[in-house]
């Protein structure tokens, strides 16, 4: 299994305090916050009906006429907030998965979470009831988190730290089984039901309201601080198992807690929107590169994920027209090209 890219660069350095990644990280964090705010404004003020900024502010403060406040508070704002929260949760979770498994391609997929959530949701849609959105979300949550737990248990061996490679490979093996089951379920049903299930599998922010945003908000409120608190242990863990044990870290427990935080964030996020492609994978890598930190930190990964998902949603709605292109496709286009560009400019700057 590969070693973290810049282990050589970091070797010999003491693990730094969380948040001590220098002024550039702070500037980038503030800038990402500003971009996220701007995106919310654009997302709420534009669309089929443009709303002047003053009316938006009025509506948010409880004033304004009824139709404006309906559009702002019931249609557009919850959707934008959902995008921000889900993006943040996926970005944070992706960063943790990548660092714990020491694999830059790490994402919730590596513990089978996405395919487990898809299998759960599709089972609910096909065999029970496709109309009950709350039940679909619950089925996805149970499927995703349950799969992750099963993968973790299967990867345990003796009292060792679970090696990244073993976790990843067992996750991949179980993912394939679940994907095949999902495909099989899709062939067992009517075309209409299959089409509905397919929309869920692609991931979508359409028609998401406050009731969808609340669970993600709670998960983030609890688990993002958890991720920040665990940052120090994660940095020690990244020095290698033996060093970490030597420094007195309970490695197995630290690893378990970190994965618990990541699985919690990712499974709630995925149950809200369906698996939106690429955010969990790209956000931490982009965050690390623009902030110039040695590893993706939780807060920056969260901010980058939020900007990426909301930006993709705004773009897909405004440029391609409502509901035509799934947001997961636009995150792929945006995140993919941006990551390529970052890699090229990094090479030009000689920081290969």
């Amino acid at each position: 299994m590969s070693v973290v890219p810049d282990l050589a660069r970091r070797r010999g350095r003491r693990p730094r305090r969380p948040g001590a990644d220098g002024p550039r990280a702070l500037v980038v964090g503030v800038a990402l916050g500003v971009v996220a705010t701007l995106l919310v404004v654009v997302s709420v003020a534009t669309g089929e009906f443009s709303i002047p900024l003053r009316d938006v502010v009025d509506a948010l403060l409880g004033g304004g006429d009824r139709s404006t406040s309906y559009i702002v508070e019931t249609l557009r704002l919850p959707r934008a907030v959902c995008a921000l929260l889900v993006g943040a949760a996926l970005g944070t979770a992706g960063g943790i998965f990548q660092r714990v498994t020491r694999n830059p391609l790490g994402s919730p997929d590596v513990v089978g979470l996405t395919s487990g959530a898809a299998a759960g949701a599709v089972a609910q849609i096909v065999f029970v009831d496709g109309g009950d959105t709350a039940a679909i979300a619950l089925a996805a949550l149970v499927g995703g988190a349950g799969t992750a737990v099963v993968v973790w248990l299967l990867a345990l061996r003796g009292s060792d730290l679970v090696a990244g490679a073993r976790l990843v490979l067992i996750g991949v093996g179980l993912s394939f089984v679940l994907i095949a089951l999902t495909e099989w379920m899709l062939t067992r049903t009517t075309l209409q039901t299959a089409a509905q299930a397919n929309v869920w599998i692609t991931g979508s922010l359409n028609a998401r309201g406050w009731e969808n945003a609340v669970p993600v908000a709670i998960a983030l409120a609890v688990l993002l601080p958890g991720a920040v608190l665990l940052e120090r242990r994660l940095r020690v863990l990244e020095l290698g198992e033996q060093v970490a044990v030597g420094l007195g870290l309970g490695v197995r427990r630290a690893q378990g807690l970190l994965l618990l935080v990541a699985v919690g964030l990712a499974s709630v996020a995925v149950s809200t929107t369906g698996p939106v492609l690429f955010v969990a994978l790209a956000a931490p890598q982009i965050a690390r590169r623009i902030a110039g930190t040695s590893v993706p930190t939780p807060v920056l990964s969260a901010l980058t994920g939020a900007v990426l998902l909301l930006g993709a949603d705004v773009l897909s709605q405004r440029v391609f027209g409502a509901e035509r292109i799934p947001v997961g496709v636009v995150t792929g286009a945006l995140g993919g090209t941006y990551l390529l560009w970052l890699l090229v400019s990094e090479r030009r700057a000689g920081r290969v």
Partner: protein
């Protein structure tokens, strides 16, 4: 970091294992010709293959079963070897034949060609697919730093390219119906219903790829020690990486162009090969070369039997059976170091 111990067997044991795998492949080939909605007695398979006549059985064997079997052999070999090469190159257990953008490079080229030029003849389609796969990989290679590319940068550039191209494919299929029509059938990934001519078209690419891959075994062993230690052993790291990428692109591009994306084979079989044969590429590459088509053909045969008279898709069968077996192997035997 402590690693699970992986027993490295001696040459006789590994040779015996390879022989058994080859026998398994032979069984798979015979079954693939024999089993189906009209079954052909195993005893007759050989004579029917060698002597072509006007009987119904001969027609089925030569028009349907043989092309399908040969396609399975070639596609399996291509994907298995390509996955093994890319896992060795990027030292990443998540690497699959599509990692450097091959799969979606091929898909994007076909879809965009159909969207812009209208219907494309199937014969041309394969060429578009191979060109697209090659172009995508070339860009990934340059972006990742050319001959100085590190494993991590290659993997990241490849995955970024894959998602950008995925967006192109999805966008084009949403905006253009005829492109969707082509893509819909191709993206399923199947050995059945493919044009027999495709087998002939892709064979040269695969032949070159297989020879290159087997020649790379020794340099890849040196590369696994790291660039500096490798150099001491006379390794030219840059040239090895470039050749590996060319070989993997030929293998995966041709296989994907012919049969569509088949996910499981190229990702999992190389791991199985390493678990059985150990980390030495002189053994693990031939293991992957033999095991991958054997598994693909056996899954194809099972798919014809279990859902008879219909067929269950090979990708579903191989994942449902292969997934649990793979998990068991990883748990029992541990993961050899990449």
């Amino acid at each position: 970091m402590r690693r699970p111990t992986v027993s490295v067997r001696g040459t006789p044991a590994r040779a015996t294992g390879l022989l058994l795998a080859a026998l398994l492949l032979l069984v798979a080939v015979v079954l693939s010709v024999s089993v189906g909605s009209r079954s052909i007695p195993i005893a007759d398979v050989w004579s029917l293959v060698v002597h072509r006549d006007d009987s119904e059985a001969s027609l089925i064997v030569h028009e349907v079963r043989l092309p399908r079997t040969v396609l399975g052999l070639l596609v399996g070999a291509g994907l298995g070897l390509a996955g093994a090469l890319l896992q060795a190159l990027t030292r990443n257990p998540l690497a699959d034949p599509g990692l450097l953008g091959v799969t979606y490079g091929a898909a994007a080229a076909v879809v965009v060609a159909v969207a812009l030029l209208g219907p494309v003849a199937p014969a041309l389609q394969v060429w578009f697919a191979i060109l697209g796969a090659g172009a995508a990989t070339a860009v990934v290679y340059v972006v990742a730093g050319g001959s100085r590319a590190t494993p991590v940068r290659l993997a990241l550039a490849g995955i970024a390219m894959t998602f950008a191209l995925y967006a192109v494919v999805r966008g084009a299929t949403i905006l253009d119906r005829s492109a969707l029509e082509r893509y819909r059938f191709w993206q399923v990934g199947s050995l059945s219903g493919q044009d027999p001519d495709r087998v002939l078209q892709m064979a040269p690419f695969l032949a070159v790829g297989i020879v290159l891959a087997l020649l790379l075994a020794r340099p890849l062993n040196a590369l696994a020690l790291g660039d500096e230690a490798g150099r001491a052993l006379g390794l030219r790291a840059g040239a090895t990486r470039t050749t590996t990428i060319v070989a993997a692109t030929l293998l995966a591009g041709a296989a994907t162009a012919a049969a569509g994306p088949l996910a499981f084979v190229g990702l999992v079989v190389p791991h199985v090969a390493r678990i059985l044969a150990g980390p030495d590429h002189r053994w693990s590459l031939p293991y992957a070369l033999v095991l991958a088509p054997a598994l693909l053909l056996l899954a194809d045969v099972v798919g014809r039997v279990v859902a008879s008279p219909q067929e269950l898709r090979v990708s579903i069968v191989i994942s449902l059976i292969g997934g649990p077996v793979f998990i068991l192997l990883v748990r029992r035997r541990g993961v050899p170091r990449l």
